[in-house]
């Protein structure tokens, strides 16, 4: 956010400079100055168009989802839609089990990935000597580049049998999915958190150390709280990555539309996520059928969930964060 503001400010500064250089020289260059202004207007227009097109595309996607998904509610009552049994070939469209499945896998992934990512970022940003950082950073970036289906395959071949050996009745469980998703959202969480830590002004650390705080106290009481807003963004981006992931989850969670019984073993039962359901069943539906509409209705639910996560994130980051960043400039 602060970067955008800085860019804008630079843009404003560039404009008057152009005039100042052009004017004193006089007429011969006047034409080219006019050309420059026209060019700038054109570029400005293009940039504006790009910005608006993003909004238009998102609006179109949302309207498309609504158009295809809402007809489902003409035939499926809301109570049915929130039922527990998902068995589309018998017209049972209860998405509660899918919702629970998605939430369990995502929450599990966040519980694993956030502490791990946060600690890794703190180590990289605050503690590790330069040479270690030079080695570790590229590896984390490579981690982000592994295609999700490859991770899913790894989960299917390696993780699932390992979890069976731990005593679970089957290795295809919510926990297996959480592990894979945690691994997938780690690079995002680490990079963004590290960025946020980097943006904390050096003076904060110096001041803290100067009043006698230890390095540990400086990190956990000063640097990390100061980078709070960035860390929230990191976590939210991580959640976004986790809840939307499809193929890897489809391979390792067992896809049983099953609501696990509450208890410590709940994460070791198979679940079916909303994304995997759409992916697995999209191909079989005739367009316009009830099943087709219901799959789009699930799409609407997913859209609303990610929208809520983003809104909460920007609220949390909101005024507080920008003021702190403003101060640092």
């Amino acid at each position: 956010m602060s970067r955008e503001m800085r860019l804008e400010r630079q843009g404003e500064q560039l404009d008057p400079q152009g005039h100042q250089e052009g004017d004193p020289v006089g007429d011969p260059v006047g034409d080219s100055a006019g050309g420059q202004i026209r060019l700038e207007l054109l570029v400005e227009g293009l940039i504006r168009l790009a910005g608006i097109s993003v909004i238009v595309i998102i609006a179109l996607i949302f309207f498309f989802l609504l158009k295809e998904g809402l007809p489902a509610f003409r035939q499926v009552s809301l109570a049915q839609f929130l039922g527990t049994r998902w068995y589309p070939i018998e017209d049972q469209y209860g998405i509660l089990s899918l919702l629970v499945g998605s939430l369990m896998v995502t929450v599990g992934a966040i519980i694993i990935a956030v502490p791990l990512g946060l600690v890794t970022a703190v180590y990289l940003g605050e503690i590790a000597p330069n040479w270690q950082r030079e080695i570790l950073k590229p590896f984390i970036e490579v981690l982000a580049g592994i295609p999700s289906i490859v991770l899913g395959f790894f989960g299917w071949i390696v993780l699932a049998p390992a979890i069976t050996r731990l005593g679970a009745p089957t290795g295809l469980t919510a926990f297996t999915g959480s592990l894979i998703l945690a691994y997938m959202s780690l690079p995002t969480i680490i990079s963004v958190t590290e960025d946020a830590l980097y943006a904390v002004p050096r003076e904060y650390r110096d001041g803290s150390l100067a009043i006698g705080a230890t390095r540990w106290q400086t990190i956990w009481r000063v640097t990390v709280p100061a980078a709070r807003s960035g860390i929230v963004i990191a976590v939210m981006l991580g959640i976004g990555r986790a809840i939307g992931e499809t193929m890897a989850v489809m391979l390792v969670t067992g896809n049983a539309a099953n609501i696990p019984e509450l208890g410590p073993a709940a994460f070791f039962e198979p679940v079916r996520t909303m994304t995997a359901t759409i992916a697995a069943e999209m191909g079989e539906v005739a367009s316009g059928s009830l099943h087709y509409s219901v799959l789009f209705a699930i799409g609407i639910i997913l859209f609303i969930i990610t929208f809520l996560i983003n809104t909460i994130a920007s609220r949390l980051v909101g005024g507080n964060g920008t003021r702190r960043r403003g101060g640092q400039l």
């Binding site: 996607i61 089957t170 896809n255």
Partner: protein, 306 residues
């Protein structure tokens, strides 16, 4: 350092781009892009899609047919019977493979799109019920299978096995094999029976998904087309139709005789009576040459007239 944030922004952008592409593809499907619109003499390419049970036979046929008539190219894809039939209804394939007959509502959907599906039985398959090699159970009746897959029986010791929880493994609901198993086993072939698979059933996106889970999980039970089963890695159960009937193991012979209770027809559906290229292809499939390939892949061939 700055690259970190940039990367994450790029990642979210990719997600958005991906979503847009996906939605564009979906709209493409819904508007019914017609691949067979060229029609007549010009159409030397056949689009063939559907059942994963049939996909291996269909691929072998398509390959072999290149030697018979090199001017025809046949594109074969799997995805499940439901997927193939949906594509036929949407007019995007010439031949849909299905391991179950089309449902009445699917036929109605097709007719409302001006497509008259025509059914052709192209081979016979025996559905094998498989367990892990270490499982002591070697035979079950249809009644027991129904109780197991609806979770009325949840422990192997109730059917003569170890004291362990039964792990149910099935295909996804878009699979014709899933529907066949639902009707013939879970519902024991009774029309008014509305039993369905227990919610804890693992739904696998492919046939190989089932065999590999059964191979590594000592308490798993699943089902697959006979052509997919490798008796060296998983155990095939003998099945009895009811408590008085003998237990019969699935083989090509018992399926052909009809003594094995879980044998079924495999279908190809065309949009309307098959014309020129597609008709020739189907005729060749029914010939002894085409049916020899069925036998070679472990499925049960039709009786040929020659």
């Amino acid at each position: 350092m700055k690259r970190g944030l940039l990367n994450s922004i790029m990642a979210t952008k990719q997600v958005i781009v991906g979503m847009t592409i996906m939605l564009l593809m979906l709209t493409g499907c819904s508007s019914g892009s017609q691949s067979d619109s060229t029609g007549g003499e010009a159409n030397r390419a056949i689009q063939n899609k559907g059942s994963d049970t049939i996909v291996n036979i269909a691929l072998a046929w398509a390959e072999e047919y290149r030697n018979v008539d090199p001017s025809v190219s046949i594109a074969v894809t799997g995805g499940g019977s439901g997927t193939g039939i949906a594509s036929l209804i949407n007019g995007t394939v010439d031949i849909a493979n299905a391991s179950r007959p089309m449902k009445d509502e699917e036929i109605a959907d097709a007719r409302s799109n001006d497509i008259e599906p025509v059914e052709h039985v192209v081979a016979i398959d025996a559905l094998a019920v498989i367990v892990n090699l270490d499982n002591p159970v070697s035979k079950l009746s249809i009644d027991e299978l129904s109780d197991i897959f609806t979770a009325r029986i949840t422990n192997w010791k109730d059917v003569g096995g170890n004291d362990a929880e039964i792990i149910l493994v099935s295909r996804e609901t878009n699979s014709g094999t899933h529907v066949y198993f639902l009707e013939e086993v879970v519902r024991r072939g009774e029309k008014d029976n509305s039993d369905i698979f227990a919610p804890q059933t693992l739904l696998m996106p492919s046939s190989v998904g089932i065999t590999s889970e059964v191979q590594r999980n000592p308490n798993a039970i699943g089902y697959d087309g006979l052509g997919y089963v490798d008796q060296a890695h998983e155990k095939v159960l003998a099945i009895a139709k009811d408590n008085e009937s003998p237990y019969i193991a699935p083989t090509i012979e018992t399926a052909k005789e009809g003594t094995y209770p879980l044998s079924r027809d495999l279908y190809m559906y065309t949009a309307g009576e098959p014309q020129d290229v597609i008709a020739q292809y189907l005729d060749w499939i029914f010939s002894s040459e085409g049916q020899a390939i069925v036998q070679r892949l472990g499925f049960v061939p039709l009786e040929t007239e020659e």
